[in-house]
């Protein structure tokens, strides 16, 4: 790397995510030292003690790159995303959660009330006799404290701020991170909006033997030990390889586990979940409902299966809760009358 | 045979009738909605075991309905001859349930007409309301009181023979436990219809 260049200003942030993406950065191993050489880190809450006001104090656009991981679940995350967007030249959605909502977005099947009711009420380990729920305001002797608002839905990063690049994965693999770092440092940036991953689907890299896509039963991974040489789909195991971007290095497949889709849809895929659902369903053998229904019932939890990482990027986004509740009420009335 | 009174040819002016209103009224009864599709084939008449006694055949009644002759239809004796055998209904090429149409006409007529049949059906209904079940002697007495008390004497001999054969109860059935429920049901229905 050319020494003459000014050191890059780098920010890393962790919103609604598990923290795996942070660890992935550390997984660069010795290359992390190179990063440290090339860049000044201005914010990295998981590793270094900066304050938000330090960032606020920076001039707008003075941060070169922000690697933002995690989805937007509450008002604090939104605030910081907006702040970092203002301060950064390049905003990178880092990891599946920031790109597509990731695992946290599966909560879009429920709204705030039901999540609180469950978490602070009905889970077996909860002891909460006063039924205290998180509040946004807390009066204290020192004055009123304000806490972030927990949202009804989980959002992906580009829902709330303009994103320049996407690095998918749960977490992104080190080689991809390094490719990105190199591109940023060298200034050889891809067109804005690009996703740093393969253009084709994962099957392109999968070395398993593929024969005929026809199945008579679907199985879940805990039910069988798959043949490691054969296409998992052809063994009746839902694998999102055909719809998911290549670039992860077939990490799951190498471990004899199916692709769950953390790299998100290929550029021309209609929609991550629906496309895979469509393909998987047509594999079932049979021509009438009586034969097909038992086979296809083997695909349990289609939403969780096909949108495991991409619900916040899907066409429907969140569960249509209010109306369903209304309909249930109506049904109840009818039954009662 | 006495000379039937010669009936003058009538000129019917369609504007004397509100056909749409009568059809709409019937449409609020079960199977009343497809009367308009009657194509006057006469299968109902020819399938009916009792049509030979009617002054107007069932088919003609349908045409009168479609013309809007409400008063004439309700004054006819046709519907009171229906024995609910449904022969017309299963054969009607247009899928009209004549039997239901007859029920509808009776129900409408029951509100104003008074004859042997209305008395019988009213008596029947009253007996059921009282006991929750049929009680033949009660019905016959009610019926006779409504029509001609002397007719009881005519029915007497058969009643006695039925009694002898163990085919008739003189004592009323001990009202069913749900008799109050039945009365309430009658009231509720009356209320719903009154309110409608």
């Amino acid at each position: 790397m050319p020494e003459s260049k000014k050191k890059l200003k780098l920010a890393l942030y962790w919103a609604a995510s598990c923290g795996g993406c942070e660890v992935a950065v550390l997984d660069l191993d010795e290359k992390i030292l190179t990063v440290a050489e090339l860049a000044d880190i201005v914010l990295w809450p998981v590793a270094l003690d900066f304050k938000y006001k330090d960032v606020e104090a920076l001039a707008d656009g003075s941060v070169d790159v922000c690697l933002f991981n995690g989805a937007i679940r509450n008002s604090e995350q939104l605030e910081i995303a907006e702040l970092l967007r203002r301060k950064s030249k390049v905003m990178v959605a880092f990891g599946a959660c920031a790109c597509y909502g990731g695992i946290p977005a599966l909560a879009n099947q429920f709204d705030r009330e039901s999540i609180f009711a469950r978490v602070y009420g009905t889970t077996p380990s909860t002891v909460n006799p006063g039924r205290v729920l998180p509040q946004t305001k807390l009066p204290t002797p020192q004055g009123e404290l304000h806490l972030p608002t927990f949202y009804n839905a989980v959002y992906k990063l580009d829902d709330v701020v303009d994103v320049d690049y996407y690095i998918p994965g749960c977490p992104p693999p080190p080689d991809l991170i390094w490719t990105a770092v190199e591109a940023i440092v060298s200034g050889k940036l891809p067109p804005k909006g690009a996703t740093i991953a393969g253009e084709r689907a994962l099957c392109h890299s999968c070395l398993r033997k593929k024969e005929e896509k026809k199945v008579t039963a679907f199985r879940r991974v805990h039910e069988v030990i798959p043949d490691p040489e054969k296409c998992l789909l052809e063994q009746g195991i839902i694998c999102s390889g055909p719809v998911t971007r290549d670039g992860c290095g077939t990490r799951c497949l190498n471990a004899n586990m199916p692709c769950r889709g953390c790299f998100g849809p290929t550029p021309e895929a209609l929609e991550h979940g629906a496309s895979m659902l469509s393909a998987a369903a047509t594999m079932a053998e049979g021509k009438d409902e009586a034969t097909l229904a038992p086979i296809l019932d083997g695909i349990v939890d289609p939403l969780g299966t096909f949108y495991r990482f991409t619900l916040a990027d899907s066409l429907l986004r969140i569960r249509n809760k209010a109306l369903v509740a209304g309909a249930e009420e109506k049904e109840g009335e009818e039954a009662a009358s | 045979m006495e000379q039937a009174e010669a009936k003058a040819m009538e000129v019917i002016r369609q504007d004397a009738f509100d056909a749409a209103a009568f059809l709409d009224e019937l449409a609020s009864y079960p199977s009343g909605e497809n009367i308009r599709s009657c194509m006057q084939c006469g299968v109902c008449t020819a399938s009916c075991p009792l049509s030979s006694k009617m002054t107007e055949t069932p088919r003609k009644i349908m045409e009168m309905i479609k013309t809007g002759m409400r008063n004439e239809v309700l004054a006819s004796d046709t519907m009171w001859y229906c024995a609910s055998c449904y022969a017309c209904t299963v054969r009607c090429p247009q899928g009209i349930s004549m039997a239901e149409v007859m029920y509808a006409l009776r129900t409408i007529a029951m509100k104003t007409a008074r004859n042997l049949s209305t008395s019988f059906y009213q008596s029947f209904s009253d007996t059921v309301r009282r006991y929750g079940r049929m009680h033949e002697s009660d019905l016959m007495i009610r019926f006779a009181l409504r029509t001609n008390p002397l007719s009881l004497l005519k029915m007497g001999p058969l009643g006695v023979r039925m009694l002898m054969k163990g085919k008739m109860n003189l004592m009323p059935p001990s009202a069913i436990r749900g008799a109050k429920e039945i009365a309430r049901l009658y009231d509720k229905v009356a209320e719903m219809e009154g309110g409608a």
Binding site: D111, D159, L277, A281, A284, L315, L316, I318, G326 | -
Partner: protein
Amino acid sequence: MTENVTAKGGQGGGPAWEPKVVAIFCNWCSYTGADLAGISRLKYPAGLRIVRVMCSGRVSPAFVLKAFHEGADGVLVGGCHPGDCHYLEGNYKTLKRKLVFERLLEQFGIEKTRFRLEWISGGEGDKFARVANELIKEIEALGPLGSVAERLRQADGLSLRAEGGAGSA
């Protein structure tokens, strides 16, 4: 129930809200059947609009999601009767997809009645009109669904930059 009342609030007698139904029909059977309904002057509400594909087998579940995403209150997919597919068996593929897809829709909180797959032959203009009227009646009872953009707006009051993500390209 109260929702429907406010939503309808009839001016001029007719309902203010008219259910929007996207019908995706195969060219050979259902689209022809819908044409026949027209030739026979059968009537159905104007909210039902047909998009033509060559075969019901062409209908990706994502098309249905797209319709709901855009604010359709219901989606009707029409194909040839089993055994009658112009392309031999495209309609069987549609059936397979439907069997999984309808469960997915339920998970998204979209009532079963809002999505229907019907076999309508080119001769069944009357069946098409009946299905159309029936479906719209059922959807009227459920009330409006609203577009996803609206639903997201309602969820947290955020103004999102570009809702939709996939497929809106």
